[in-house]
Each structure stands twice: as structure tokens, then as C-alpha cells.
Symmetry: C2
Subunit: 445 residues, 2 copies
């Protein structure tokens, strides 16, 4: 473990690569873009090819029964600021693979990254993991070749596994969705296909600061890497951190029940979408996609389109020279295990205009009013472009002087290295916090 | 952490205590028994006081809506030896506390253990944790006094938390039941109430070898203690162990759906019970309980009564001087996260008379035929006496020469210290494996 931590650190600090072509990332990325053409057209949900609304429930389902469904969820959270609400949610029970293949060149680990288009992306291509595969992709034994490099992850035990952990995705939009986050090291000769590129970890981390370049799937996989630990003790013993989370999971009372999509209180069909009567939160929309690249594909699908741009921020402070971030233990209806640790702030500020004042997130104003000198990281980053349409959030890391005891039981300062240890296991850090962990490493490496 | 591991090891090797009364455990336990009188009488399910069968579904529910319900579950496990079955299951969604209070006397940690009667116990009292409390017990702020010592666990942050982790219980009989396993150290003066006794860890572990003395709740809490690690490397890197389990969870396809208790295929009502037409597996029975001790209680409840005595065994082998056990990654319908690690063998041998031959557990015959010289631990131990009636299993630790690669992907040798590390987190080891971890420590300490 010490060995791999050292190698991760070395790659994270390498901003030059001995193997990438000399033209650099920008030229490669621009070239990939010229070979890719994705058009996305909004269509009414009722007009989606091969998707059907259930005549009784209104739930959205593919004719094949595969992919995912959109149904309704009624959420009871008696002690929360909003004790009960209804919402649509995406149900996609299968576990897919998000995998980055790594290999050492000249003593430095390189990640095989992909320039990939997704229908929900605002601006075409994003830097993505080597593989994003659904369960159907990777259990179809005889068609493994259809997703390049998939066999490295399907037969991971034949390589050196660095990361392999199921992590949750957006608990507000997905019902118990988990993906398998993998990093696998090979010593094989690897042919680099069009649209793929070896990059040092430092090169990928540096791109995180550019708007909309590194996709969510890459961010979550990168966050699970064993970045090096060390230094003075953390503010809280790990036993106390685990106890804090165990208590939150034991005491938080969130119950959900599935309800028909057409019976959701406060939601209605309008202009071929499902939207909230307040005009806030998100819409369920339909899109027709034509994707042209190596292969041409054409399909239709529902997507979630948020109405606003969210703010996802973590406060950063050193205690005894050790960087800590202020995390929030909170519930989301789609979590598999009640509560996960999220960023200090995770919200769409505009939503609070229609929610009770008590729902306004703590520290939101501190983040929004932070001067430039306190902002250590800032970028507009997208959520998963396969299910979410133009879902962009402003990700921030902000220096803070919030005291060691923040004075609220749902918030606690954790050392960044404690997050690394927790990320070996499922369901501790939510996907937004994981994105910020990747951003933190770009700041701290 | 090193400090607490050392102190756990010291207590585990202490078979004498400086504080316990000189008459010893047996006299104390016998005295407790004379002050406790529990009578349990079987009654038909339809005659249970304050319990009611739903007129439509036949589900069993308490009039108050509290405690638990018994409903039906249909299980789809297309790749398993039995691809589909129906069964009753207990649904008890709240997380309770199983807590052991510890305190140092003369430099040795002692556990405050309780002699506690439960209606399902075969033989009256068992040695139990300091506290077994339901969520209703511990959230009722103004009645905390009703469960002795509960405040040490409700306000754990004021003490030193050694263990605090939610762990699953029987996934074959409970639907997603989790209890909070806690060990909390105090330096307070503690008044020892009637029915409680300070014991070293070594004294408690030694009792595990006696039939039916240490209850399941005590065993699971003890298993989560940070026993010391060290020695040569384990056979498999922990990253590979985690990857193995992640893969099993990602690929295993087990789906469950709730069905009415009166609509279960193969199950019927007979003599006031719900039982399987084969006469195997288990019955759902009703009991009237009169418990006399410090307080007299009287209540009725349904219980699960297994038809046979199970075999729960783990194979033990040293690799490079490091003790390893052969674990099985398997699915049970009530697990919260698809697959957990269980013992090498966990079954009721009699059940296999009515199941396909392919369902017969690997290594069962090796365990049943093991000579005395290979049996390192053997005892008849009970499962939770609050829900299961006379549910006893023969727990075994058996020396083995199964090779490093057992030749089946669902089985793997793990170092005992790897289990200790996994037990800081939820849902890795099932409750039977945790019982065996406690038994292993009694053998290895």
C-alpha cells in the first residue's frame, strides 16, 4: 500500500509526460472533437422512440425493459425542513463499471483517458475514464470487444487492482444507483485507440480547473485513488468519525415509497416534460440523440434537466498543519444507506426561494461571499451526461476559519487523508464530495 | 489505535479478574438464574394478544404498529441452485443498540456483561451485552433510565468510543435488519446492578466454548473489537479482497419482492403456525411470555422457530505463520447490500434433503467428518432469543489443509486480522461469521 501511495503521489505531481504526443492535450482534444458529432434534440416524452409511459402509472420505461425507468418517489423525512415531498426519480438498479486503466511509463503511472461525448454534456466532449460500461456490457461474455479495454476490468484479477469499490451516485435523482469505481494497472503492451490518451495523474488533475472538461465519472474514480497519508493526527480519531456517521444513520428517519409518476403532488406534465409547479428543481425531458464518431448511433431517452446551476463547495482549513475539510452528514432519498458525507454546501440556491427559510443551507452565504483570495479552486463541472442534461454545478474549495467545533452536529472537519481511507469502502462519501476530493488533490498535490 | 489493540489483547489473555467477586462466574450466574423466571408458552398465531393478521394479506403486525412485522418475500436468484423461492421474513427496519460498556481495573479492560433471559433461549439466561435497546428505547429522551446504562451509549461522544458500527443480522430471516454494535469505555464510577458483572475479555471469550452461555448479541459486539494485527503478509492483499467482494456484489443477481404472507408458495397455516409443506426450514410460531425478574413483564409475539440444528463452521489454516479462515461470499435475501462474507459452511444439513443436490454446501462433508484432533472449537450456540425460538447452531472452527487457492470463486482464505479491519465497517461479515470471529479469538488469544 505504501508503494502504491508513493507512485500515485509521483504521478500526481508530474505535469509532463514522456509518452504523450508533443502537441499536447489541447491539440489532441480538438482533433477528437472534429471527429465527433453529437446532436441532441428535445422531444416530448410521449414521442420518445422505444420508450413508453405506463398507461396506468405514467412511469417511463424502455420497450426492452432494460436501461432504466423513471418513476415517482414519496419521501418522508419527519425531522427535516421539508417533512414530506414527492419527486420523479431514476431507477437503474444495475451496477456498471467506471474504470481507469493505468500503466507505468518511465517510472510514472499514466491514466488512459478517453475523450467522450455524452448527450447531456453542454459542450461536446469531456475527458472520461477508459471504460464506462453498463452491467449488460460486461456480462455479455462474447461481446466484450464492443467496449474497448473492458476486458482489463472484467478480468481485473489478472492485473493489479488499485481501486475497486461500489460508490453511490446522485441520491436526489437516482434510486440506489451504484457504480463500480475501478483503477487497474497493467504491464501489457496497450494499443492506444483513437480518442484515448495516456496522461499523468497530474495532467488530469490540472484539467479539473477548466470548466466542463473532466467528466463526473472520471472525477469519482480519481477520488478513490490511494493518495498518500501522513503528518500530524487528524482533529477527530477515525473511530469517532465512524461513530458519528453510525449515529446519524441510526437516528435519521427517512422513508421512501414508490408512487406512480403521474400521481406526484406538485408535479405535472407540460410541453412534453414532467416539471414542478414552482418551476424549480428539475424537469424530466425527452431527447433524440444522434451520435457520430467511430460508430454512428441513434437513440432516444428521457433525461433529468435541472432548472438552476448548483453550488457544491467545501470549506478547507489546516489544523496542526494537516488539511481538513468541513463535511456534512446528510440524507438523500436515493441513498442505499440513509446518510452519506457530502460537501459543506451542496444545493441549487434558486430552489430555496420556494422552500422554508430553515431549509437554507448553512455556510452557503459564507461560500457565495468568499473573496477571490480565499477561493482555492473554482470550476463549472457537469454531472453525468448520460442521464442529466446540462446539469452543471459550480465546484469550489474555499479557505475558511470555521472553528474546530463548527457547533452543529451534522458538520465535522475531517482530514483529507481520512477521506482517502473511507473511499476504499462504499457509501461513505457522496458523488459530489468525491468530485471535490479530486479537486482537492489538484490543489494539494 | 495501537494503544487500544494492546489493551484489547491484554484483556483477552486475562482469565482472572481483580474486581469480580471471588465466587466466580458460575455462582453469580446461578444466583441470577434463581432470581429470573421466564415462562414461554406456544399459542396459535391467531390468538396472540395485541398482534393481528392482516385480513387481506395475512401479514402479522402489532396493534401499535411498532416492534416488527412478519410478511412474505419472493426471492429471485436466477443463477442460484434454487432460482426462485418464497418465504416468510421479519421486517424490523429500526436500528437498535447492542452495547458493551468497558472500564479499566488494575490496568485491564473489563466488560460489563449482563445475565439476560430471552423468550427464545433454550435454557434461560445467557451472557449478554450491557445494553440491548431498540431505537424506541434510546430515542425516548425522558425515559432513558428504563434501560440501565443506556446513557453511556446514547451519549457515546462523552466517553471513549472503541466500536460503533451497524452490522447486519440473519439475512435469511430478517429483511435488512441492522443493529448498532458498540463498545464504549468509561472512567466513571459505575454502580453494578443486580444481574450485571465485570469480566475480562478473556473470561467472556472462555465462556464461548460452553453450550448456550454467550448470546448472539454479545458475540457480534465482541467480534468488532480491534484485536491486534501484525505478522507476515496475508495471502491476499486487502485491495484484492475488496475487489473480490465488489465483483460479487456487482454480478450477483438477487431480487426480492414483498408478497402477502398468506400467498407464499409452499407455505401454509397449520396448528396456529405458518410452516413449509416439506416440514423443513422454519416455522413462524406464536408465544405468550411471562418474564419475572427485577420487573415482571407479560407479552405475546411471533417468533421464527427453525426445524433443525444448523452447522456453522469455518476452516482454519496458517499461511506463513498467519492464521487464515476460508470465507464464503454469498447472498441472502435480507442483506442490505447483496452479498456478505459468511463462514465456510452455514446451513441446516436436514434442509438439503428437499433441495437439489447442487445446493449441498461445499465443505459441509469435510466439516462433518473432521476428527477430534482437527476441531479447534465446538459449541452449540443460540441465535437472537428475542426473535428466534430455540434456534441453535453447532459452531465449529476446524483445522484444514484446503490449498491457498480453494478452486472456487466464491471462497477465499482471509487472514483473521483482515476480518478485524473489515469489521470497522458495515456489511462485510455476516452475523454467523462474526460469531465465529469471536470464537476464533477465544482460540487464538
Amino acid at each position: 500500500m505504501a508503494d502504491i501511495m508513493t507512485r500515485v503521489a509521483r504521478s500526481a505531481s508530474a505535469r509532463e509526460s514522456a509518452v504523450a504526443d508533443p502537441g499536447g492535450f489541447d491539440r489532441w482534444f480538438a482533433q477528437c472533437a472534429t471527429r465527433t458529432h453529437t446532436t441532441v434534440e428535445r422531444v416530448p416524452l410521449d414521442a420518445l422512440d422505444r420508450w413508453r409511459r405506463d398507461p396506468v402509472t405514467g412511469d417511463l420505461r424502455h420497450d426492452s425493459g432494460r436501461y432504466f425507468t423513471v418513476h415517482g418517489l414519496r419521501v418522508h423525512h419527519p425531522e427535516g425542513p421539508v417533512p414530506r415531498w414527492d419527486q420523479p426519480i431514476i431507477d437503474q438498479p444495475e451496477t456498471g463499471i467506471l474504470g481507469i486503466l493505468v500503466k507505468e511509463f518511465d517510472g510514472v503511472l499514466h491514466c488512459l483517458m478517453q475523450a467522450k461525448a455524452e448527450p447531456g454534456n453542454s459542450d461536446g466532449l469531456q475527458v472520461s475514464p477508459t471504460v464506462q460500461a453498463t452491467r449488460s456490457n460486461y456480462t455479455r461474455v462474447h461481446q466484450g470487444g464492443s467496449v474497448p479495454y473492458l476486458d482489463y476490468f472484467r478480468n481485473a484479477a489478472a492485473q493489479r487492482v488499485i481501486v475497486d469499490v461500489r460508490q453511490s451516485e446522485q441520491g436526489a435523482w437516482f434510486y440506489r444507483k451504484r457504480n463500480r469505481n475501478m483503477v487497474v494497472e497493467t504491464t501489457d503492451e496497450v494499443t492506444v485507440l483513437d480518442g484515448f490518451r495516456w496522461m499523468t495523474l497530474g495532467q488530469v488533475l490540472a484539467l479539473l480547473g477548466r470548466d466542463d472538461v473532466v467528466n463526473m465519472d472520471a472525477r469519482t474514480v480519481l477520488s478513490c485513488l490511494p493518495f498518500p497519508a501522513g503528518g500530524a493526527p487528524a482533529l477527530h480519531r477515525t473511530a469517532d468519525v465512524l461513530s458519528w456517521l453510525t449515529e446519524a444513520r441510526s437516528l435519521t428517519d427517512v422513508r421512501t415509497e414508490r408512487v406512480p409518476l403521474n400521481a406526484l403532488e406538485g408535479w405535472h406534465d407540460a410541453d412534453g416534460r414532467v416539471c414542478h409547479e414552482s418551476g424549480r428543481f428539475f424537469d424530466v425531458i425527452g431527447v433524440d440523440v444522434v451520435a457520430g464518431g467511430r460508430e454512428v448511433g441513434r437513440w432516444s431517452q428521457p433525461m433529468i434537466e435541472p432548472r438552476g446551476t448548483g453550488v457544491i463547495a467545501v470549506l478547507l482549513r489546516e489544523f496542526d498543519g494537516v488539511p481538513h475539510v468541513l463535511l456534512h452528514a446528510g440524507a438523500e432519498p436515493g441513498y442505499a444507506d440513509v446518510v452519506e458525507l457530502g460537501p459543506t454546501v451542496q444545493c441549487d440556491p434558486a430552489s430555496y426561494e420556494v422552500l422554508p427559510a430553515t431549509a437554507r443551507p448553512r455556510y452557503l452565504d459564507e461560500v457565495l461571499s468568499a473573496g477571490k483570495e480565499r477561493i482555492r479552486f473554482e470550476a463549472l463541472l457537469s454531472e453525468e451526461g448520460g442521464r442529466f442534461h446540462h446539469a452543471r454545478n459550480r465546484y469550489l474549495v474555499v479557505d475558511s476559519d470555521v472553528p474546530a467545533d463548527p457547533g452543529h452536529p451534522d458538520y465535522r472537519w475531517l482530514a483529507v487523508r481520512q477521506l482517502t481511507a473511507l473511499l476504499r469502502h462504499s457509501h461513505y462519501l457522496n458523488v459530489q464530495a468525491r468530485s471535490l476530493v479530486a479537486c482537492l488533490h489538484s490543489v494539494l498535490s
